[in-house]
Symmetry: C2
Subunit: 470 residues, 2 copies
């Protein structure tokens, strides 16, 4: 029998909550309440032996009483009862189960035995399991969640995340929702991975039309070979970024104690991921930072970068950042140079990076950026642009970005990545203007090195695709 | 004749502004106005051939009319008149001059000739010059500034900055004042360095009791050997962090065009800085980020780090971060482990990092952090602590930090560095609570890798001192 796909986990038309509770604060209450709060449009069937009502919904005494075969069941009851529940779900014909409950292989031998039994039942009935010991999924396009995380602000977008541990996934999501301007598609907490694992997750996300980029937190892979095979396919259509921890001895020890992950030689992991075209990141924040770039801008087709800087010093730093990250400060064409010379005072040298500072007092900040951006984007030697802003009140301050968006629309195949320093409130304002623009969104980082790194990672992705397509 | 020190530039009892102007918006107006705005307590003598009054001050028609020998003169007039002014200042007996005016060696041969003439006059009269082509100094402890930057919020503290270009110094200062919670001592824009150079600047800051840490932006060093000699001395009493740009080919090209800095083999620069115990940083933001750590906490005496984490996943990432940066996840003593076991559920393994998550539901967030921090700080195997927070509303949220500060006071020779992720507003609140505390300030970073890096840099400083003192 062919394996069920994961579609039901993310777009279920109905869900049973096994272990629903009418007591506010309990997991079984939060789960039902969260579905109602975020506007889940499918049918919700709370299940609890006590029956009755909760939050305006009828509570079913057991699974078999539910008047339909639900698309997904969410299991919240204590570990000891899960095997029996699995049997009931199998009998009912349910094919997708999220087991939130912990106390299985992550705890002891007895738990591992129960987990094996669960898998046996599931296999016999063609059930796919997410978990156990997980927060499960959040699916923004379907207003669906199985997690205990209170999500109010649903910003639907293209970034999907897969985390080995639910806590990690939740906290990353909290950060993104409260701090970032890009939207989310699917979030998956894999837990013990008794059935669905990292490879299954990215296989699904690879085919998911809502997902534009995939970020992963992995402590250990049970079947590294299969993951690499699947990743190779997925990378052709969307970037996969992996934070694989346990890369040091202390990290490996901590991973073993946290998720019983077996240490792998990190050099081998590293080269396998590289071979698969996966972008490996070593900082937790990079999973967020790079997703922003991928969701807002196209990757550069080659590594020839043009830069615009608000000061000479930042120009030197930007040059270092770009070139030390495997990109190239390109030679601008004669035509571009003469356009830039038109606004620059006669004694000042013009090159790449283009420093707007000497031109600002004669032409004003807006004109300098407009002339610079148009000339550089139009240059055939340029594959992407890094623009620096300096929010110095009354000096190089920008309060409007529409004129720059208009220029970018003409060259929408070339990425523009920005950084902005200066007075914090003004920096935040500019970031908001660029990142939440209705037409083209420009990711804004704080410093030239972060922006350069985002651009470099996008270029590495282009290289990976080209290599895989050969 | 012995060279004048730089004291007058930072603690002048009187200042002449040559090129003062009564017209708002002009540099000569802003300079005088800024001094009044930030509450400069010395005498201000505006100088302009037109005479009259400005901002309630008498304007002197020329330097010789000023009724005293001013401690410092600020020169804002066009380049062509600067040589004559220098002669007048020499005659008057002024010994410290900031030349803001540009148009000298940074522009052309003719400018270079004028600069040479200025230096000749200055040497003959024992005058020290800062500049030309600079914004000069900001001295927070003296409420003194020569820059055109509007500084309203004076937060006096221990971080001093030296930048080759004034713009760079100003924008870094703007960022710090509007975004950071640590205070500033002296900011120096060196400009063309016709007299006072990087070595002079750090020599002064090294002896300045107000300065606790020194951050520098350097594009080129005219006398690298002397800089290294001076740095070796300064590093014994306070950390020196250097962002030396021009480390790539494109960067060196940009530096040559920006400040006519001559490219040096970057490997040689790197090893010279290392030998001198200077902390080299490659990211613009690090100059800010590491200054925060040095100004808030003592460096660790050795590299044995204890970590407290709010989730298992973050514990694995923290372990990787700490060990990959040359620190060590230490083995906690038996005594510490048993203290941590007292609050941890029986089946959960306890180690370093200490994960509070399993203990939170039984003991609450505050108790978990308190027990963890006290036990780990008290451990003789621990030289510094990295604490992670996760501002997840109602789950691991902290609204008060006093109980942690009380514990830290008992172990004030061991640094505590924090990171905090989660819901942005709550993260910002926690950062504010820790960084602006009246007794002990804990630097809060966003992600474990940034916090680990700050701790690692502090330890590198300890190593440097130990080596230099041998």
């Amino acid at each position: 029998m062919a394996k069920q796909g994961l579609h039901n986990f993310f777009e279920p038309k109905s869900v049973a909550i096994i272990g629903a509770s009418a007591t506010p604060g309990k997991l079984g209450y939060i789960a039902v309440n969260n579905l109602l709060r975020i506007g889940y449009r499918g049918k919700i069937y709370p299940v609890n032996p006590k029956g009755g009502e909760m939050l305006g919904l009828k509570v079913f005494k057991n699974v078999k009483d539910i008047p339909e075969i639900v698309d997904v069941a969410l299991v919240l009851i204590p570990a000891a009862f899960v095997v029996d529940t699995m049997k009931e779900l199998a009998e009912k014909g349910v094919k997708s189960v999220v087991i939130v409950t912990g106390g299985f292989s992550e705890v002891d031998e007895k738990g591992a035995k129960m987990e094996e039994e669960i898998v046996r039942v599931a296999k016999g009935a063609g059930i796919r399991i997410m978990g156990p010991n997980t927060t499960g999924v959040i699916s923004f396009p379907a207003n669906f969640t199985t997690t205990f995380l209170n999500v109010d602000k649903l910003k639907v977008g293209g970034a999907s995340y897969v985390a080995q541990t639910g806590n990690f996934g939740s906290i990353t999501l909290l950060w993104i929702l409260s701090r970032e301007n890009f939207g989310i598609s699917r979030v998956i907490g894999l837990g013990n991975k008794c059935d669905i694992d990292d490879a299954d997750a990215i296989e699904y996300l690879g085919e998911d039309p809502c997902t534009k980029s995939i970020g992963m937190y992995i402590e250990g892979l049970k079947d590294g070979r299969r993951f690499i095979e699947v990743a190779k396919k997925v990378v052709r259509s969307k970037p996969v970024m992996v934070l694989k921890s346990g890369r040091t001895k202390a990290g490996a020890r901590a991973a073993a104690s946290h998720t019983a992950s077996i240490a792998a030689d990190d050099d081998i992991v590293d080269s396998a991921l590289k071979q698969a075209g996966v972008i490996r990141v070593n900082n937790y924040g990079d999973l967020v930072s790079f997703a922003k770039a991928f969701n807002f801008q196209p990757p550069p087709l080659n590594n020839r970068i043009g830069a615009i800087t608000p000061s000479g010093g930042l120009g030197v730093c930007t040059s270092d950042a770009i070139e030390s990250m495997g990109l190239s400060i390109t030679n601008l064409s004669e035509k571009t140079i003469s356009k830039l010379k038109e606004i620059t005072p006669p004694l000042v040298k013009v090159g790449n990076p283009f420093d707007i500072w000497p031109a600002v007092s004669n032409h004003g900040v807006e004109k300098c950026y407009a002339v610079g951006l148009e000339a550089i984007l139009n240059d055939p030697n340029v594959d992407g642009v890094l623009v620096g802003f300096m929010q110095s009140p009354g000096v190089t301050e920008l309060k409007n970005v529409d004129f720059l968006i208009d220029i970018m629309k003409k060259y929408s195949n070339k990425p523009v990545i920005a950084y902005c320093t200066g007075e914090w409130n003004l920096v935040e304002e500019l970031r908001e203007l660029f990142e939440t623009h209705s037409e083209i969104q420009v990711p804004v980082y704080e410093f030239p090195e972060q922006a350069s790194e985002a651009l470099a990672v996008m270029y590495r992705y282009t290289e990976a695709i080209n290599r895989l397509k050969k």
